[in-house]
């Protein structure tokens, strides 16, 4: 029966590359799945890691218990005269170094030369556990990004997650037989099914269309409109909302970006404020009636009062009531005269009386 054996090659080797034996293993880490890792041991030696969906804490501890005393001796020997009867896993002793045959490249011929190795990566066997800032950054950027793709009957799920000192982020989608759903950090942001799409979040689009395929809202970079094609469109009925203004119904109502309002009709049920002052509906109505009946109009004046203007000559102007704080009269039949008198102290006083001639 074949058995595991030791081959002594003495010095029959073209070249030999040997590194110091690895530290003994002190820790076993089993990656059970993307989210589950079981481990046993400490960081005083090397760590043996592997994937096993059936791994348990008990298994990690059992394997760790088998590892004390095991030390891996890296070596790489070229051009050895290794017996063709040797097998992978056999021991080999070369120039006083002893290890296992874990790699073997053979060239068949009269000498049956072979390159044998217990391979190693010189960069891995660091005794001084130092990582440069670049290595740490690389570990953070690359090592903590995980991705998974799950394909089952009736379900496909893909997920990418990243763990970093700033926190954990993830993005995933899940496609079933009735819907397709996207998630960001575990929260649903979009769902598409036979009824359409539901989006919970910001939508950004250069152009687009909302409607039934033949009529609806057009979305442009500076406007959204339906029917009307511009702010000053007086041909098409509809609505226009743009950066230059808002318009409705062939322009029957329009507000420009400068704040100018035009409307065919307007009914106000509350208070109209002009220049910071309120004008009640009754005042507007009476003032408008008075101004209209006298064929003229009034405008705002200094001191919060009002000036009549452009009144024609030789006409009579009447008002039902009013109050003047200042009254300026030009070429009118108003006159004033002074009334002089003495007050109780004997001092002369004068009052001016406005009279009508």
């Amino acid at each position: 029966m074949a058995e595991t054996s030791i081959f002594n090659l003495l010095s029959r080797v073209a070249s030999l590359d040997v590194a110091p034996a690895f530290q003994p293993y002190s820790k076993v880490v089993i990656h059970v799945d993307d989210d589950t890792v079981v481990e046993a041991g400490d960081d005083t030696g090397r760590t043996l890691e592997f994937n096993d969906p059936f791994g348990t804490q008990e298994l990690a501890e059992q394997l760790l218990a088998k590892l004390p005393g095991y030390q891996y001796q890296p070596l790489y020997a070229q051009g050895t005269l290794l017996d063709p009867a040797a097998e992978i896993g056999d021991g080999v002793s070369i120039k006083g170094y002893y290890s296992g045959i874990y790699q073997r490249d053979r060239t068949f011929g009269k000498l049956m030369q072979a390159d044998v190795a217990a391979p190693h990566d010189e960069e891995i066997n660091h005794e001084y556990k130092y990582k440069s800032p670049q290595e740490r950054k690389f570990t953070r950027e690359i090592g903590n990004v995980r991705a998974s793709l799950l394909i089952q009957a009736g379900l496909i799920e893909a997920k990418v997650s990243r763990e970093s000192p700033e926190g954990q982020t993830s993005f995933s989608w899940l496609m079933g037989d009735t819907s397709h759903t996207w998630y960001a950090n575990g929260r649903q942001v979009m769902r598409v099914n036979a009824n359409g799409a539901e989006i919970d979040g910001k939508i950004t689009a250069r152009e687009g269309y909302i409607g039934n395929g033949s009529a609806g809202f057009s979305i442009k970079a500076t406007a959204i409109y339906n029917g009307m094609t511009g702010l000053n469109d007086t041909v098409h009925n509809g609505i226009y909302i743009g950066t230059d203004g808002v318009a409705l119904g062939k322009g029957a109502f329009k507000v420009t970006a400068a704040g100018n309002v035009s409307a065919n009709n307007m009914e106000l049920t509350g208070t109209l404020r002009v220049g910071g002052s309120s004008i009640g509906a009754s005042v507007l109505r009476q003032g408008a009636q008075s101004a209209y009946s006298n064929g003229s109009y009034w405008t705002g004046g200094a001191g919060g009062g009002y000036n009549f203007k452009s009144m024609a000559d030789n006409n009579d102007y009447t008002a039902k009531y009013g109050k003047f704080t200042y009254l300026t009269v030009a070429n009118a039949n108003f006159y004033s005269y002074a009334l002089n008198y003495k007050d109780w102290n004997g001092n002369n006083q004068t009052v001016y009386v406005l009279g009508h001639g």
């Binding site: 074949a2 081959f7 002594n8 090659l9 059936f54 009867a85 040797a86 874990y102 011929g109 190693h120």
Partner: protein, 259 residues
């Protein structure tokens, strides 16, 4: 180490020993001359079995023959199923080489008139082939192949085991599925009796890897074409016995001499 005869050990101990190689391709072929020409009988090629090394292609028709096996890469790893590779460059054989045909190389030790038994050096399946006319206008074919480990790249679709099943039973069933047997050392090694649930969604190769990891090893295919678990802990302890110039132990009355 493969089983070898006393004659083999005797020849290898001879400082003037050398090795001969031959290679068998396919299950059968045409009888050829030493130069590789088909021997005709009444105009008809003679079909011969190629199941043994004595009917294989001799070194005179072989330009190069290399095999490569790597149990792991840059540091000790466990839980893998490793395929050995072969690359064979030779005169184009007269017969048709069927797709994915077997390639089985052999080696024997020679010294003077002595010839040892043939030692099988793996069982491979052709993966790619390339033909060129680069040797005195004769067609030269280059074959590249892998051993049966790659046959485990299939779903664990059928089983006759009762699940959860014991590890060695799973290994035996996987070996039977790919048409190989299990190396006896593997049976001796797998005594923990670990049980596994039905591996739904995993390939045979993945399942073998998970079992191998729990024994701190990897699965390989032996030179005899058997499935074998090699554990890191299976390495024999270093010894300091007296050896001869070839590295073989010197015995006294059958016992090795410790120094």
């Amino acid at each position: 180490m493969q089983d070898v005869s006393a004659l083999y050990r005797q020849i290898v101990a001879d400082p003037n020993h050398y090795f001969e190689a031959t290679v068998v391709i396919g299950e059968s072929g045409n009888l050829v001359t030493e130069a590789g020409d088909t021997i005709l009988f009444g105009g008809t090629a003679i079909i011969v079995s190629r199941t043994g090394p004595d009917s294989g292609y001799a070194e005179s028709t072989i330009f190069s023959l290399k095999t490569s096996s790597r149990m792991f890469g840059n540091e000790p790893e466990i839980g893998k199923v490793i395929a050995q590779e072969i690359e064979l460059q030779m005169l184009q054989p007269a017969g048709e080489i069927p797709p994915m045909a077997l390639i089985v190389p052999y080696v024997r030790a020679c010294a003077g008139d002595l010839r040892s038994e043939w030692l099988q050096q793996g069982v491979f399946y052709i993966d790619t082939r390339q033909t060129s006319a680069s040797y005195e206008n004769l067609p030269v074919i280059t074959l590249h192949g892998f051993d049966a480990a790659l046959l485990t790249e299939q779903d664990y679709a059928e089983t006759r085991l009762d699940w959860p099943a014991v590890d060695i039973d799973i290994v035996q069933e996987i070996a039977a599925t790919i048409g190989v047997s299990v190396d006896s050392r593997t049976v001796d090694l797998m005594t923990d009796g670990r049980t596994f649930p039905l591996p739904t969604g995993y390939t045979l190769r993945e399942m073998l890897g998970y079992i191998a990891a729990e024994y701190l090893g990897c699965f390989i295919m032996t030179e005899q074409g058997q499935l074998r678990l090699v554990s890191l802990l299976d390495l024999p302890k270093e010894t300091s016995f007296l050896i001869d110039r070839n590295g073989d132990y010197i015995t006294f009355g059958g016992d090795r001499i410790k120094v």
